[in-house]
C-alpha cells in the first residue's frame, strides 16, 4: 500500500481531482460527498433514487495506489461495519444497476464497471467499451458521474409510461 505521503505523485493527482471544478460541482449539486479521505483510501457517498422514488445514498471505498496510471479499485461499502456492503442491501433497479453492484465471484468484490481496476479486465469488458474504460486522462469525477447516473436511473422509470 502506498504510504500517506503528499509528495507521492498518486496522492498529488488524487488531491488535484478532489479540488477540481467538476468534482466540486457534484458536491454543490448534492450528487456526492466526501465521507473520509486518508490517501490512498477515499470513502465517498453517492446520492441515489430507489425504485419507489425515495432518495437514499450508497458509500464507496476507493483505493487509489498508482492513481491515475492505475485505475482505482472501487467497492460498495458499509461505513457502519467498515466492510463490503451485504449483497441484499445493494442498489436495486434495472439490469444495468443490479449488474454493476452484484457480487461477481470470490475475490472479485469490486463494482463491476469497465473503469474499475479488477472488473475492467474481466471478459474483455474495458476493450469492448472504451468510452467507459479507465485511462490515465480520466479523473475521479468520471467514476462518480457514472455511479451517480446508475444510482439515480430509477427516477427515469417513474417519469415514463406505466409498464406494458
Amino acid at each position: 500500500m502506498t504510504p500517506d505521503n503528499p509528495d507521492n505523485p498518486a496522492h498529488t493527482a488524487a488531491d488535484a481531482d478532489l479540488a477540481s471544478a467538476r468534482f466540486r460541482a457534484g458536491i454543490l449539486r448534492r450528487q456526492w460527498r466526501i465521507v473520509s479521505y486518508a490517501f490512498p483510501v477515499l470513502i465517498m457517498a453517492v446520492a441515489a433514487v430507489e425504485p419507489d422514488g425515495a432518495s437514499s445514498e450508497y458509500f464507496f471505498r476507493f483505493e487509489l495506489s498508482g492513481f491515475p496510471g492505475t485505475a482505482p479499485a472501487v467497492q460498495i461499502w458499509d461505513c457502519a461495519t467498515n466492510a463490503l456492503l451485504a449483497a441484499n442491501r445493494r442498489p436495486k433497479g434495472s439490469k444495468r444497476v443490479v449488474e454493476a453492484f452484484k457480487d461477481w465471484g470470490p475475490h472479485k468484490d469490486t463494482v463491476y464497471r469497465p473503469w474499475e481496476r479488477t472488473s475492467g479486465s474481466h471478459n474483455n469488458w474495458a476493450q469492448a467499451h472504451p468510452d467507459l474504460a479507465w485511462h490515465s486522462k480520466r479523473d475521479l469525477t468520471f467514476i462518480l458521474e457514472d455511479l451517480h447516473g446508475l444510482l439515480t436511473s430509477n427516477a427515469a422509470a417513474r417519469s415514463s409510461r406505466p409498464a406494458a
Binding site: 434495472s94 439490469k95 436511473s153 427515469a156 417519469s159 415514463s160 409510461r161 409498464a163
Partner: protein, 177 residues
C-alpha cells in the same frame, strides 16, 4: 488596520468552454463581470451574451452584486443563445423542444424518456442515454454525453440548434444491447 478582501468564487460553464470552471472575481463585482470573463475566454462580445443559472430558463439581472448569497451553491452559464432548439432522434421518430443553454443533458434526457417525449417503457427508461446525433454510427458505438454537461457546451453561435440521439446505455458483457 488592513482589511482582507476575499474573492468570490463562481462556478460557471459557457460558450467556448469544454467543461465547468471556477472563476474568481472581486468582492463588489456584478454579474456582468461573470459574462465578461467567459466572453473573454470564449472570444465573443460580452454584450451579446446572457447569464443563466443551471437548469433555469430566465436570464439573471446583470446588475446584481456578487455575494455568497447570490452566486454560492449555483452553477452558472454564459451563452449568446437564450434558447436552443433540441431535436432528439429515437428509432424512426424525432421530437423537438426548446431548452436554455444552461439545461443539463439530464434535463433533456428526462424529457426525452417521459410521456411528453418518446414515452419510453419504464423497464428500459433507466438505461437510456443521450449522444450527439450521427446517423452514420451505430447506436452501440456512440459515446453517451455526460449528464451534468450544459447543452450550451455543444452549441456554437449563431446556430442555436442541437441534434441528439436517444440510445440504450451499456450493460455488462454487452448483453443489454
Amino acid at each position: 488596520m488592513q482589511v482582507e478582501v476575499t474573492d468570490i468564487e463562481v462556478m460557471v460553464e459557457g460558450e467556448g468552454l469544454a467543461d465547468v470552471e471556477i472563476i474568481r472575481l472581486s468582492q463588489g463585482s456584478t454579474a456582468r463581470e461573470i459574462v465578461a470573463a467567459i466572453a473573454l475566454k470564449g472570444g465573443f462580445p460580452a454584450e451579446e451574451a446572457v447569464l443563466l443559472i443551471e437548469d433555469s430558463d430566465e436570464p439573471v439581472d446583470l446588475a446584481i452584486v456578487l455575494t455568497e448569497g447570490t452566486v454560492g451553491g449555483k452553477v452558472h452559464h454564459v451563452h449568446r443563445a437564450k434558447k436552443i432548439a433540441v431535436t432528439v432522434f429515437y428509432k424512426e421518430l424525432e421530437k423537438e423542444k426548446h431548452f436554455p443553454p444552461s439545461a443539463r443533458v439530464q434535463r433533456v434526457l428526462d424529457w426525452a424518456v417521459s410521456k411528453e417525449g418518446f414515452n419510453i417503457d419504464p423497464t428500459i427508461a433507466p438505461d437510456m442515454e443521450l449522444a450527439l446525433h450521427d446517423d452514420k454510427i451505430p447506436d452501440d458505438q456512440k459515446t453517451p454525453l455526460p449528464k451534468n454537461a450544459h447543452i450550451g457546451r455543444y452549441v456554437h453561435h449563431p446556430h442555436h440548434r442541437l441534434a441528439l440521439d436517444l440510445i440504450r446505455g451499456k450493460v455488462p458483457n454487452g448483453s443489454g444491447r
